[in-house]
Structures are given as C-alpha cells and as structure tokens.
C-alpha cells in the first residue's frame, strides 16, 4: 500500500484533541444507593480524588477515533496494490510468408514458437492466454488458463505463403482485451509496411529476425499476348535484391519444364532489374520462372512465379442482328471467337452460346447466360421505354469500370437513345439526364449488358475506343479466354473454378479438396501450381515486395527487450471512497448510539 498524500497523516494528531475533550468533559457515573451514610464515614477520611487521566471505556470515543483514522487515511489517498485476479495475454504470431525465412535456423517461425514457449514459462498461473495468427487474422486459441491447450494449438500452427495482415491481427487482439487488463505480444519479423499502426501501451513487438538476412525475390510478373503474331506472348519479370550485398543470380524461364531462357547475372544490394521475354504458345502451357542464388537465399517462395496459358479455348458468340458491320468486324478479329450471325433466335438455342448480342432485335423472354442488348429490351425486363430521347448529353461515366479501360467516352456523340430508367439493382456505367445509356444487370443466371442506343445512331463505332471496348467486354464476360493472366493468382486471393461437375483440387502441398460444380476457391495459401483432376489448373505466386523484404524494420518499430511484463503487473486499488464510506457509516452509528443513550437517560 502506498499513500499519494502522506502529509495528510499529520491529521491523526487530532485524535489527541478528541481525547482531551473527553477528559475535560468526563462526567462521573452516578450510582443510586439505598443510603450513603456509611460511605460518608469512609470518604471523610480519604484524600480528595486526583484528576484522573484514565478514561473509562466509551463506545462513542472508540467510534470517533476510528472514524477520524479512516478519514485521515482517506485524505492521504491510499492505494492498495494487489495482484490482478486475472492477467490476460494475447500472443499474436506472424504467420505470413516472410516467417519462412531461414536466416535464423531452422526458420523464423520455428524460432518464434520456441520464444513463445519460453514466455509461457515465465507467466504467473492466473494468466489467461490467447493466440492469434496474423494470416489470416483469427483466434487460434481463445483465452484459457491451460498452457497445454495453448501449446497444442501453437504446435498445429504453420506459416502460410500469404502476405501479412498485421493491422487486422492487432486490431483483433486489441478487441479481445479491450475491456480487460492485458498485454499483446506480437512475435513478428516486421516485414510489413509501417504506416498503419497506432501503437498502444500494452502492445509489444518481439522481433524474430537476424541482422542481415539475404533474399532476392521476384516482385512483379505479368504476361500479355502480342498483336504481332497469333499465339505470341510477352512476359515481364522484376527481380529485387533485398540483401546487403551483391548476389549471383540464375534466372530461368521454363515452358512445360522446357527451358526457354536462362540468365546469369549479378544484382547489387537493394537493386532491382526487369526482364522481358517473348515466346509463342499455341496450346495449354505451364510457364514457370525460377530464380536461384548462390548460395541459396533465406526465402525461397519468392524465387518462383508461374502461370498457366490456355490459348486454345474457343468462345461461341451469337450476333442477332439485321446487320451490324462494325460489331461483326470487331468480333471476328479474335481467333478465340467463333461468331454466328442470325436475325432471330429462339430461347432453346441460347444455351449453346457463351455470349449473345441482340442488336435492335427483341430478345426472347426468360433469357439466361451472358447477354448484350443493344437498343433492345426483353419483355421480361422490369422497365419500359418511354420512347426515344434525342441527342442525350453524357452526364456520368464510370471510368474506373473494367469495360472502359483505355476507352475515352467523353467525346461520344449519340443521336438518339431509348428513354429508359435503370434496372433495379443495376450498375450504371454511362448515363444522360433522362436516360441510362449503358448499364450492367446481374440477376440469377443472367449477366446483361444493356446499351440503350443503336451503334449506328452514335459515332461510337468510329472511335478508337470501340474495339477496345469490345475486347474489354469479351474479357469481362469471359476472362478465362481473353485474360492471359487469368490462371495466375496471388496467394490469399480467391480463384473461380468454372469447370462443371465433380472436381478434385490439389494444392502445391498435395492437400486435396473435393469440389462440386462451379465454385470459388478461397484457400489459395501456398505458392505453386494447383491441379484440378490431376492437371495444372492455375498457379499461385507470392509477388509481394513487403514479404520479400525480410530485413528488420527496427528503425521504425520500438522493440521490447523484455518479452513480457505480465507477471510483474499489479492492480492499483484506490481506497479513498471506501474509507470515506466506512467513516460516514461509523459516524452514523455513533450518532445512533448517542441518541439512544440520551433517550435511556431521560
């Protein structure tokens, strides 16, 4: 216990004043006896009584003294230190890709686990511990006294080839102890961007990192088909040296395990280099880029990127039109498209086509699939045309939409357009005051792009952006055919599996998962090729500069030397209010006693 205002204890001397008052006002007790004539004889011979310093016992005096002591103690503002009934410790473990670095052996993640185990041994018994993984941010073990349970969950935890989500993990940890006393220990290699943290008092970073780790990584990769030759692709690779010394690097590009290119180079410390290669590919190809250093660097998962190129896919497109040369020509440009032109179509025929254009032809009702309606409305669309609107001015263009990538519609002139409102829940891409000119509507199995003006009633087909718009449109409806990078994802992203039927997906660690029909696969946790029914289907790459930069960020983060101070923490308990309440209660009791005594005497 300590006193914030110890000088107030001098007021205890007031107890002496109370004693003095009692001595001065002391009244001798009256005893009524039958006759005191015998006493007279005795007292007559005795000396007169002296002043007596001894006070008779009095409850009132005792209560007053105790009340005074309590009030003086309250004024001195005492604080009682007591051990917290429960200490809370949240351990956040960085499970991101960079924790697989082998700069400290066997790797950072293993060392982090060992250091956590060491911390656990120093904790008091009443500590409740929780474990949170940073990737994905989740509670692995909720608050528990059981260290064995915690260790079991810790043992099961493995690092993933994913970029870190440190902010989310720390927010989760803070929310767990927001109303409790506790501490957050973040075991991390600090390979993340520093700008997003609001460090709290109870947050401590425990660095799991060596001083000079070595790493060279592929931080960027992209592929595109060239317009020069059918089946020709161009790839771009950026490699960076995060080491503090020059690294000898061998870069190899392989197609279906066949070497296409190989480079030997030296990359200076903290420098990057970009490589571009072109190659021809007319069939499904697993393209792989490998990077090797001598000696091997500390993080291997960023030394690989891969992609599946699938050029032999064909899209059946139906153009229902009385004749639209611009559109027909634009669609016929792409070798992946097999175009059919008709002036009318029945509903039964529509499932055969991957994309159907209705150019000023009213589509049949109950349509499904990918549909583009140009100046035409299906009777089952929940809107009605109010006629034609002449020269509609453009008032809104959603430039950020993928359909308008590299397309400038600001100078688009439209002579007339159907006067329609937007479909319920539709995304509007282009509109004028009175009408919606281009909108996207997705409902059930229908993906509809509704263009409310005839291409011939505008100068759109004459603009440079028109074929680009058509390509964007095709890529938006069928990215698996028109996006060469469709079969490459970054770890942590989702991948849409468009194959029907029962499928067996196998990840690079040979974990298999049964899938039924089209589905979105959300557990892209490892770098490498993912196989569907035994064939490589897509490839996951790390491609994260922050994870590849495995050097410590000690200049940015305040690290703690001591790993935990939970055991030392004590709870402060101010006693002021309690003492005052007790003193008041005592004074109330004293008043009652005094009042009762007075009544008894009367």
């Amino acid at each position: 216990m300590s006193f914030l205002n110890p000088f107030a204890l001098w007021f205890l001397s007031l107890a002496g004043v109370i004693f003095l008052f009692y001595l001065l006002k002391r009244r001798k007790k009256e005893i009524f006896i039958s006759s005191n004539f015998l006493w007279q004889k005795i007292v007559k011979n005795l000396p007169s009584p002296h002043f007596q310093w001894k006070l008779p016992f009095s409850w009132l005096l005792l209560i007053q003294i105790i009340a005074l002591i309590l009030m003086v103690l309250a004024l001195s503002n005492p604080l009682l230190f007591r051990k917290s009934k429960e200490n809370f410790l949240v351990i956040v473990l960085d499970t991101s890709a960079s924790m697989e670095s082998t700069d400290i052996l066997p790797n950072r993640f293993f060392v982090a686990k060992k250091r956590i185990e060491k911390v656990l041994k120093t904790l008091p018994r009443n500590t409740k511990i929780a474990l949170i993984s940073s990737v994905p941010p989740r509670v692995v073990s909720s608050f528990s006294d059981s260290q064995s349970y915690f260790l079991k969950r810790l043992k099961d935890l493995e690092p993933l080839d994913l970029p870190g989500k440190e902010k989310e993990a720390l927010n989760l940890a803070s929310s767990l102890i927001s109303k409790k006393r506790g501490e957050i220990l973040f075991f991390t290699d600090t390979s993340f961007s520093p700008e997003m943290f609001t460090l709290k008092e109870n947050m401590k970073f425990i660095p799991i990192v060596s001083e000079n780790p070595r790493n060279v990584g592929i931080t960027s990769f992209s592929i595109r088909s060239t317009a020069v030759q059918s089946g020709e692709y161009e790839i771009l690779i950026k490699i960076e040296n995060f080491s503090h010394k020059t690294e000898d690097i061998v870069l190899r590009v392989l197609a279906n395990e066949k070497l296409l290119y190989q480079e030997h180079l030296q990359l200076l410390s903290l420098k990057k280099k970009i490589f571009t290669y072109s190659f021809i590919c007319n069939q499904k190809t697993f393209l792989k880029v490998e990077l090797k250093t001598n000696p091997p660097d500390d993080l291997l998962i960023d030394n690989f990127v891969g992609i599946v190129i699938n050029p032999d896919q064909t899209l059946f497109v139906l153009l229902v039109s009385r004749g639209n040369l611009f559109l027909k020509t634009a669609l016929e440009t792409y070798p992946q498209i097999k175009l059919f032109v008709k002036d009318k179509v029945s509903l039964e025929e529509t499932p055969e086509y991957g994309l159907i254009f209705f150019d000023e032809i009213t589509p049949p009702p109950s349509l499904k699939g990918n549909i583009v309606c140009i100046a035409s409305l299906s009777p089952d669309f929940p809107l009605k045309s109010k006629g034609w609107e002449k020269d509609p001015p453009l008032t809104y263009i959603k430039k950020s939409h993928p359909l308008f990538r590299f397309v400038n519609l600001e100078k688009l002139n439209i002579r007339r357009a159907l006067s329609i409102s937007s479909l319920p829940g539709a995304k509007i891409l282009l509109r004028s005051f009175q009408t919606t000119l281009i909108q996207i509507w997705q409902k059930d199995d229908l993906n509809l792009l509704l263009i409310s003006f005839d291409l011939y009633d505008s100068d759109f087909p004459l603009q440079v952006g028109f074929p680009v718009f058509i390509f964007n449109l095709l890529q938006w409806f069928h990215p698996e055919i028109f996006d060469p990078q469709y079969y490459e994802v970054h770890t942590g992203e989702n991948f849409f599996i468009s194959r029907e039927g029962k499928n067996l997906l196998t990840d690079p660690d040979n974990h298999s998962l049964k899938l039924e029909g089209k589905s979105t696969f959300s557990q892209v946790n490892f770098v490498g090729p993912y196989k569907l029914n035994g064939d490589i289907y897509f490839v996951a790459n790390l491609l994260n500069r922050e994870e590849s930069n495995i050097s410590p960020q000690a200049k940015i983060y305040p690290f703690e030397k001591e790993e935990s101070s939970v055991a030392e923490e004590r709870e402060k308990w101010p006693l002021f209010s309690l003492l005052i309440l007790l003193a008041l209660a005592l004074l109330l009791g004293e008043w009652y006693l005094y009042y009762r005594n007075r009544r008894v005497k009367k």
Binding site: E30, F32, S34, I42, L46
Partner: protein, 293 residues
C-alpha cells in the same frame, strides 16, 4: 378482595408455625394461648366463692346443692396475642432484586398469616419519616385477604426516621404485644432510640433487617457519584478494591453494633438478604432465632 401475595402451597406450609411470645396476657379476647390468669377458657382449674358481679353462668349448681353455698368455677383463660408488624417503606427499601420492600411485604404477609391462623390479633403499620397508613388489629383467618390487600398497596417512598416512628408507635399503643420491625436500618439518625422506646413500653421486639446483595458487596470501579436515594445527597469518590474493603468493614461494624444492641435489650434480631429465599428465612432463620415455632 386482595390478591394473594404468597401462593397457597406456601401458605399451607405456614399453617404449622406459630409466633413465639411471652406476652400472651396482653390480648383482650380469648385466644388459643394459655394465659397466666383464670378466665373463661375450657380448661377447669379451681372454684372460688361467688361474689357480687360474678357471671351466673359459671355458678356450680352441684356444689350449691351439696353445700348450699354459691361457688364459681374457674377456668384457664385462653388469651390472644397482639402482633404488630412495622414495615419501613422509605425510599431506601426500593433497591435490590427483588426490592427490599417487596421482600418485606412478603415477609410481613407470611408472619401475619401465621398469626391470624393462630387466632392472634394482627396489625400492620408502615412508616417513613412518620407513621403512615395502618391496618388496625384484627384476628381470625378471614382477615387474611384484607391483610394481603393492605400489604399490596404499600410502596416505598420518602425518607425514613426510625427512631421517631417507633417511639411514636410505642407511645400511641396502649397495650403492648409483639412488635416485628422490618427495615434496612439504613438511617443516618439511628435506630436505637426507637427500639428502646418499644422495649420500655413493654413490647416484645423482633427486628428483621433486610439488605440487598449490592449493599454487602458493592460494585463499580473508578470515579463515581454515590447518590442517596432518600436524601439525594451525593458523595463523589473513587471506587477501588481498597475502598470497597473499607466499606465492607464499616458495614460489618454497623451490623455488629446492631446485634450487640439487640442482644443487650433482648430484641430478637435477624439480618437477611433479599437474595435469600423467603422459605429459608421463615423455616430456618426465624425459627432458629425463636421468632417462630
């Protein structure tokens, strides 16, 4: 009708007792006590010649027929006893548990009952600094309830003046008998003169002094003010064990003084505490002191 001060069972036990006295001739009426004079009792003792004024009923006509002289039959005259119970009802008698006055009233009731059962004449008088209300002398069992009723009404009050009251009583009563004085004798002015007056007027005196436990073993510690219940005089003193011993010594001397006085003047003296059961007092102590038989 008065309520019984003593329970019936106890009263039945009292039936076997009687007051001891040498003063049997002092009664007016025939009683159950054998007097020293001849009279109209049942026990024949002698003849004497008829004289003018003798009661014709006692002429022995058989002797007249034989001697032609009138003779009167003489019998042992059975006298009643005059018993007066004097109760000190001053304020000093109000202390104790039970209070001294309550104890005195019960004692008086018991003695009165014994006397009435034995056809003695019983009178009761209370006193403080002067003589208070009194129950005139009466005899016979039927008077018991009236006696109890009178005793119940007695309550302690006022100062005491034992000498004055006893002297006044002795002077007032023409014929002496037994005077049973019940008091705590805690009177600054003394008791001797009053008792002596009774004795000189021919009363056979029994003095029963009632004290309470706290008067014998006083309590308290430290500075106290002792307040006299009667006079309200205050004595400020410090109660200590040595002072208590001094007090007990003074009390012992006081009691011894009384005892010596009573012995000297042939007064039956008995001292009792209110904590002593009444039955013990009556059946043991009073019999031992030959107040009762």
């Amino acid at each position: 009708m008065g309520k019984l001060i003593l329970d019936e069972k106890f009263l039945r036990q009292l039936d076997s007792l009687r007051l001891l006295s040498k003063k049997v001739e002092s009664g007016h009426f025939q009683g159950e006590r054998r007097g020293s004079k001849s009279g109209s009792g049942l026990e024949f003792i002698d003849y004497q010649p008829y004289q003018m004024g003798d009661d014709y009923r006692y002429i022995d006509w058989h002797l007249f027929s034989r001697f032609e002289q009138l003779f009167i039959k003489l019998f042992v005259e059975e006298k009643d006893l005059r018993v007066h119970i004097l109760i000190d009802r001053s304020f000093s008698m109000s202390t104790g548990v039970p209070s001294k006055i309550e104890y005195a009233k019960k004692l008086a009731a018991a003695l009165g009952y014994i006397a009435l059962v034995n056809f003695d004449r019983v009178g009761v008088i209370s006193f403080t600094s002067h003589l208070e209300e009194s129950l005139p002398q009466r005899r016979g069992k039927l008077q018991i309830l009236e006696l109890f009723s009178f005793l119940q009404k007695i309550s302690s009050n006022g100062e005491t003046n034992l000498n004055l009251c006893l002297d006044k009583f002795a002077s007032r009563e023409r014929k002496a008998g037994i005077a049973i004085v019940i008091s705590d004798l805690l009177d600054e002015k003394g008791y001797q003169k009053g008792l002596l007056s009774l004795r000189t007027h021919g009363w056979e005196v029994s003095l029963i002094q009632i004290l309470e436990e706290k008067e014998v073993n006083p309590e308290g510690e430290g500075g106290v003010v002792l307040v006299d219940k009667e006079t309200h005089k205050k004595i400020e003193t410090e109660i200590t064990s040595s002072i208590i011993k001094l007090y007990q010594k003074a009390l012992g001397n006081f009691l011894k003084e009384i005892e010596n006085f009573c012995e000297h003047y042939q007064i039956k003296y008995l001292q009792t505490l209110t904590s002593l059961p009444l039955s013990s007092l009556i059946f043991k102590n009073l019999r031992r002191k030959k107040v009762l038989k």
